[in-house]
Symmetry: D2
Subunit: 343 residues, 4 copies
């Protein structure tokens, strides 16, 4: 039984980690931190967890934390993470960090899109935690940078095509849509029910911070620098991301559905839709699946890829547990056999 | 490994049975019927089940069905059920029927609220499948009538008070609210997104068919005839029922929260809220829990009980599996340790 | 052309006043205050108003305000209102106050449910602004206390029955449900999309501050003290209130639909549903209508009344404009002929 | 007072025409047809219209229709429209047809995307009813083909750029998202609340019938053949379309916001967002506005245009009334000064 600590348990990704770990037989949640709710049971913050995760929230220093668990999930904002993670790593702990602080290999790129980085040395050892692309490295890592929600959907959607060199990597346009949980649990007017319900809009047009993360990994896949158009939108729903991805074909294409099915044949958490069918976020809700559909449009010479995930699971906490499983030698699907909740 | 058949697999309760049974280690889904989708995989009807329940839908006679499974869930409309169930029972199969056909003990009451009953003899042997109230009888039953969704929330909410004789049983008013999945998957204008979204209304005021079912069981609890006001409403959401129940107090009350906690101390699937806290449907979503909160209002001398369930789980398919577990000697919570999905 | 000021323009009721007044031919919005958004156009706070209400938000003292308009709507929280309103009234301005500060005639009752009242003298002159019940007095008032959203739906629903003395006034139970806009535009976790969507719950059970307001007016209608059970719930939608009201019949009833139609025959903004039909919030969305349906249940001897309004219009800003129209001698429906938006 | 007939009044666009015409002072609704609801008041089909549009639905032949009104809106499915419209036109009536039957000038293109066309001669005289682009021709037309909802948002979004020749017309990618009302009021599983709520998906990928309509009009704007990628998606909300449009820049760009503001300076129903701001469907809800925001991304050399409408108003019935106003010499905004409903 491995002892688990969640740093930042009172956000949506923290609560989701607790939900998933309830049904994970190899681990035990031994510490959960929250400054705001210190002294309250986590199940009072999230009554959904009553009887399942009644652990008290605590406000602890890193020095206190390291005695309380063997493995840590850091589910805190970027910039806060780079303060905590190095000390957990320094104490010999394994860590999956759910923030953006250790995803970009190049500190200059990080500082251009975020702010000053104060733990640059870890950027070279942290592994980008997308198991379908970096499984072996994750298994050996002490620190895994859990991918962003948008990048997860995009990278899984594009990997087969880019690896096969079938599209022009400079023509990639990503039109992505996310549920509101992606904005976290902070009390802000823009996330109020009345502001978001029955409505739809784009935000951070041409300047969302997941852009360099997507470009880094896509460049790695095709071995060439990639620049993408990436436009995020806010959906009037809680969970789910659908990315619609366009790319100009550069070679004669094989059957695309077959290509994708072959690429992901061994992957439990990627489901390729039959030809002519497309994914929907409601079919992955609450699960660790990424569903992908793909079509070639001969009128325009473009491929259109649709990729759907639950942003809180495969886009955050589920993938974090998948990474933990790899890092700890557990079955990769332990705790993650949740069937999507529909309707 | 017990072989399971779902009769009527293409409705929401059928799909939900499949979802739950995916993670039930003692059973195997061996047959699923659907007239409309015969020949298609269930996972094409509900893509959420892809890779998990790819069984083909079939259109089978009862004679064909009985060879294909040991235990049956009948998830078909009332009146259709009374046609199929007697033959499954006659073939020696155990059955949980999710329709209303075998819930009422008195055929006259049934015929007053529904239509002619053609299998009246089974009314005396069928057991009303609310485990928290009838566990022992369910364990010995061959045919269990799975309770209605509204009655489940109401009966669990009122049982402690009525058994203790603390309220005037003729003053009970039940104001209940349900998500749209309660209306099933039939294509009808009234269930269209645009008709239901962003709106709220009552329906079948003073004439909903769950009324006699509630009254039968409440009468059984207090040993006196009970007549209730029951008003169902339609919520703009997919899953969940909240029943708000009012009753005039007839005796000096003990501490209500303590009363409820004591009553349900051994019940895994009933969670009593701390005093001053009330349940919400979003905290039981996707799970088999019934959450209950209770308050005495000294200004009016009335007790107010709030009872929340997921209508598709504890109000239908989850409770059906709970009944199956009891009927088959499995652990009562097998397959049902699903943690609520929030947000 | 009367000059209008909105004090507190950046909340939902403030914005709604601006929306309605855009199409009111007798008035001009000349000043709008907001501390938080001072210096910004109201149409930047609410882009829906672009090109229609581009007035700048200002942070003004009451002394500055009084020169800028002839008629004021105060759309600020209770306790803040009692600070501003007396000075506007003292400067000879007519005022519709949308807060709770001047609704209760009895200062003791106010202080029991709210806090200390610092402008008690105005409680005797302020008129409770429900035009269907107090039209004449409103026409002559300088200060009108705009009713609460819940009370509006309840009082219009019960008035015909109580005035006719047909029900036992001590048996009234009100189960009310409101959209999220009722909670205002403050940034708080409980109003976040993810907390509220796809869910339903009661709140302030037995202790909501609209209770004494309802009781005051119901007592006035029947000439006897009335104590009610009032349970508010939060609906997963932006706009709309439905109140479901129960009362025990005390006399032989006439035809209820006819009674209601007669009572409201001259009222443009109350629509009585045909017998057997019930209102829905989606059919009054965005409009000043109150739709009412009513049924007698012979099984229980109770009347059930369903009353639906848009809480932001008839429950707040629309009714405020209706009051202004009466106070200024405009046609009562000026600016209020908005047809409900469905779907 | 011009007498108006709505053919097909029981769909969402029919009901919306009735809603808008309630507040139009120059016209009177004298006939409304519906096969399904013949004999019922329109306000029973849509209770939102009670007291405002209580006209009876009738099932009439075209011969009977022509005596009952001077001007007709045909709000019936394509293929049905081409049966009715020619006879109305033949009887000398002015018609705005809301179907797709008269939008495409080239019968071959029509038959490639739809089915056989039986009234091809009208294709040459029908005017494409987008007032901002074809105002003069609309004013003189007897038959106006009301644009599709998606094309309306796309064409208004692209017109300034294409007319100015600033982008490569072969690089246009349109990622469009629509609320569920776009699917109409037919009872079908795919439009049920539970299928659509809390979910998001693409549909008809690369094969939606609005594609040739978009291409026809874009080609007209730039004088060159245009082929576009067009991907529609289904949003979990009732009303609203947001189109996100990408195009590769082919010349040095002027300030884009200024370009758009100049282009639409005289247009009452197009609102250009300030630089750095983008439209949202919730800010145009219920209104005839098209809100547009635009940004150049120097990293990729692409322009991104965001265009939002209410699909039932500017995307259908509002635009139809705007066309009627032009055809009848009324003020273009008559009946259309509705302020968006937010929240």
């Amino acid at each position: 039984m491995i002892r688990i600590g969640i740093v930042g348990a009172s956000g949506y990704t923290g609560a989701e980690l607790a939900r998933i770990l309830c049904n994970h037989s190899e681990v035990e949640l031994t510490v959960a931190t929250s400054r705001q709710y210190a002294g309250k049971p986590l199940s009072q913050v999230f009554p959904s967890l009553q009887g399942r995760a009644d652990i008290l929230c605590e406000d602890l220093s890193v020095a206190e934390l390291v005695d309380r668990a063997d493995f840590f999930f850091t589910a805190v904002p970027h910039q806060t993470a780079m303060d905590i993670v190095p000390r957990l790593v320094g104490a010999g702990k394994k860590v999956v960090d759910l923030s953006a602080d250790f995803r970009l290999h190049d500190p200059q790129v990080y500082e251009q899109w975020y702010q000053t980085h104060t733990a640059k040395d870890l950027l070279t050892t942290a592994v980008y935690g997308l198991p379908e692309l970096h499984r072996a490295a994750i298994g050996k890592a002490q620190l895994v940078a859990n991918p962003g929600c948008y990048p997860t959907s995009v990278l899984l959607g594009l990997a087969p095509l880019l690896k096969a060199g079938l599209v022009d990597q400079q023509t990639i346009i990503i039109d992505a849509k996310s549920g509101v949980s992606g904005a976290g649990r902070a009390a802000q007017v823009g996330s109020l029910y009345c502001e978001v319900a029955d409505g739809f809009k784009a935000y951070k047009v041409g300047e969302h911070r997941h852009t360099p993360e997507i470009e880094q990994e896509l460049s790695g896949l095709c071995g060439m620098p990639v620049t993408v158009s990436f436009t995020p939108h806010l959906l009037p729903m809680s969970r789910g991301i659908l990315s619609t991805i366009y790319a100009q074909v550069s070679k004669v294409l094989p059957d695309l559905t077959t290509l994708y099915q072959d690429f992901y044949r061994e992957e439990e958490f990627v489901r390729v839709c039959p030809a002519g069918h497309y994914p929907a976020t409601q079919y992955v809700r609450g699960s660790n699946y990424c569903d992908i559909g793909v079509k070639f449009d001969p009128r325009t010479g473009r491929v259109i890829i649709l990729s759907a995930i639950d942003n809180v699971v495969k886009g955050a906490s589920g993938q974090a547990v998948q990474n933990m499983n790899l890092m700890c030698g557990f079955p990769e699907n332990a705790g993650l056999r949740i069937v999507p909740l529909f309707p």
